[in-house]
Amino acid sequence: MEKFQTITSTYVPLPIENVDTDQIIPARFLKATTREGFGDNLFADWRYDKEGNPKADFVLNNPIYSGQVLVAGKNFGSGSSREHAAWAIGGYGFKVVVSSFFADIFRNNALNNGILPVVVSDAFLSELFASSDKNPKATVTVNLEEQTIVNNETGNSESFEINAYKKACLLKGLDDIDFLLSNKDKIEAFEQQRAYAY
């Protein structure tokens, strides 16, 4: 996994609530057996018409908006556990997703792929949408080490939560399997001593 570094970037606003993983990547694109290529179909049914032409009214097709940060409405990533949603977001080039609330499975999947979900307050989120409305080239700075996000348009900032273990994983580019494999003796000991073993 790539190490996570501080990002200052323009951002793509998506002020829709409850964006579920079927919107992020519809099921018909889940037939692949590798992790690559999902970015092309990110938000496929909002992004393309039936003939596969870009829909002008969708934000990813609006050249004014770009960047490594996606800013989305409350409860982002609900629904299916498909990690393909995280692969699609990462494959498209996003490194950070900002929302006021994330679904649990999506949040884990994002973290396991080096994508940082940043939870902000409703007020901070509204302000981000207002800033990009006024100036599509507005930027945010996301600093994982300090656990802060700054709206550079207004200068307002917030701190965000992340557990120390996951933070270290992202900063060092390590994944959970490395950790679990180093713990095998504990797993075997657990299997030996459990009170009721299935």
Partner: protein
């Protein structure tokens, strides 16, 4: 004093990472073709074996046709994905129930019906509806593919301990109200993200009175309000269901298991982070009108007005109704529909088919309706045939398909066409969930049966 959740969680803690998640031991791992290939590829890249192969079971269900399963899958990419699962099973020495295997079916149907699912277990699968297995008093939850790889490699997973919530359903259910209606009512009250961060225990008189299959339907839908899982304390209903199933404990093992299982309940006085109580006499047969499962109402209900929606949610609400072709304040009773789908891990079991069949018996399918009846497994289909339900269905103008996830998720051949209305017993009414442009109205098997016969949304 501990909750049921705490007891099971604590019994599976291998280690705790400082300032981080818990390393949890997993008793049972289920896999399907869609969310596993990248995990097996990951093992291969790291040169790893499956750590405890006897704890993982594979089935093909999502990406398969529900007709002509005896022939090779015609879609080349789908065929490759299913073949990849078979190859991975062979290479890593895992049990696999492929197409035409009498044990094949939807992963959350075959787990319980074969006795893989037992009280007190930790159960995971790369599928959010793994919550289904919580019906047996297990901690069961959906995981991503990186986590599938973790379980294959180490039989463990790293998870942050969730908060606990108890939802009490008190009183007796009204006639024609099933667990699906309880769930849709609950989600409409708590919203689609209302239980995010929590693990739910379902309790109360109405839950105790549910059959195992109804409990599975209720637990299945836990994820639709954001909860990773939901569980019901095991009781005689649970034990009677499990006894004698293929992978259930036998003889002396059964007695040992029972002694343990009987300890699996929330202690009197144990506290939850949140507690909610519903009076089930308020629950009527439900439908959804929008594009998330929280947008539900009674069949005779009215879609909310725009001014009832909070400011930040207005764009989403309007987008949703626009997609569905409905207006604020509209009633849906009497609305003509085009498709009916009976099936999925939510409502694809024998009791669901019994309910549906009982209603349509002696009636005829409406001409304007295309109905897809998809048993959750070959065993369910066999049972349908043994009980003669297939004959009754046939006389009423319905045909059975072969097992699979089918029209629940539009990744196989069974897709609802754009703009068409489908009354579905599945779990998600998201935009495009049943096909690009498809409009889903979620309901229980009885409401689906009434829609199939009347050609429109009606009280069952």
């Amino acid at each position: 004093m501990k909750t049921l959740f705490d007891k099971i969680w604590d019994a599976h803690v291998v280690a705790t990472v400082q300032d981080g998640p818990t390393q949890l031991y997993i008793d049972r791992h289920l896999c399907h073709e869609v969310t596993s290939p990248q995990a097996f590829a990951g093992l291969r890249a790291r040169g790893l074996k499956v750590f405890r192969p006897e704890r993982t079971t594979l089935t093909a269900d999502h990406n398969i046709p529900t007709m002509g399963q005896d022939k090779p899958i015609s879609d080349r990419i789908s065929r490759f994905q299913v073949d990849t699962l078979a190859k991975n099973a062979e290479e890593f020495g895992l049990t696999y129930y492929g197409l035409n295997n009498p044990m094949n079916g939807i992963v959350h149907v075959i787990g319980p019906e074969n006795g893989y699912t037992q009280p007190g277990m930790t159960i995971v699968c790369g599928d959010s509806h793994t919550s289904t297995h919580g019906a047996f008093g297990a901690i069961a939850f959906g995981i991503g593919t990186s986590e599938v790889e973790m379980v294959l490699a180490s039989q463990c997973i790293l998870q942050t301990r969730p908060k606990t919530m108890r939802i009490n359903f008190e009183g007796k259910l009204n006639e024609h109200v099933s667990a699906k209606d309880m769930a849709l009512y609950m989600i409409s009250q708590l919203t689609t993200g209302g239980a995010t961060g929590y693990f739910v225990e379902y309790a109360g008189e109405a839950v105790r009175n549910l059959t195992m299959e109804q409990r599975m339907t209720l637990c299945n839908l836990s994820i639709e309000m954001g909860a990773r899982g939901g569980l019901v304390a095991p009781d005689e209903t649970t034990f009677n269901y499990i006894k004698g199933r293929e992978f259930a404990p036998k003889g002396e093992q059964w007695d040992k298991a029972m002694a343990y299982w009987k300890t699996l309940k929330t202690d009197e006085g144990a506290t939850f982070d949140k507690e909610v109580t519903f009076d089930v006499s308020q629950i009527k047969p439900m439908i959804t009108y929008g594009t998330n499962p929280g947008m539900g109402m009674p069949i005779d209900g009215t879609i909310p007005q725009l001014e009832d929606i909070d400011e930040a949610g207005k764009i989403s609400f309007e987008k949703s109704l626009n997609y569905m072709g409905f207006a604020p304040g509209e009633k849906l009773e009497g609305k003509q529909i085009d498709y009916v789908f009976l099936g999925s891990c939510t409502n694809g079991r024998i009791e669901d088919f019994r309910l549906f069949t009982e209603y349509v018996k002696g009636k005829k399918k409406a001409d304007n309706v295309t109905a897809w009846l998809v048993p959750g497994s070959w065993k369910v289909r066999k049972q349908i045939e043994e009980e003669g339900l297939d004959k009754i269905l046939e006389e009423a103008g319905f045909a059975l398909r072969q097992p699979g996830c089918s029209a629940c998720l539009a990744m196989n051949d069974d897709k609802i066409p754009a703009g068409k209305y489908a009354v579905s017993t599945s779990n998600r009414n998201f935009e495009g969930r049943q096909g690009p442009g498809a409009r889903t109205i979620l309901a229980g098997p009885l409401v689906a049966a009434a829609a199939a016969v009347n050609g429109k949304i009606t009280e069952p």
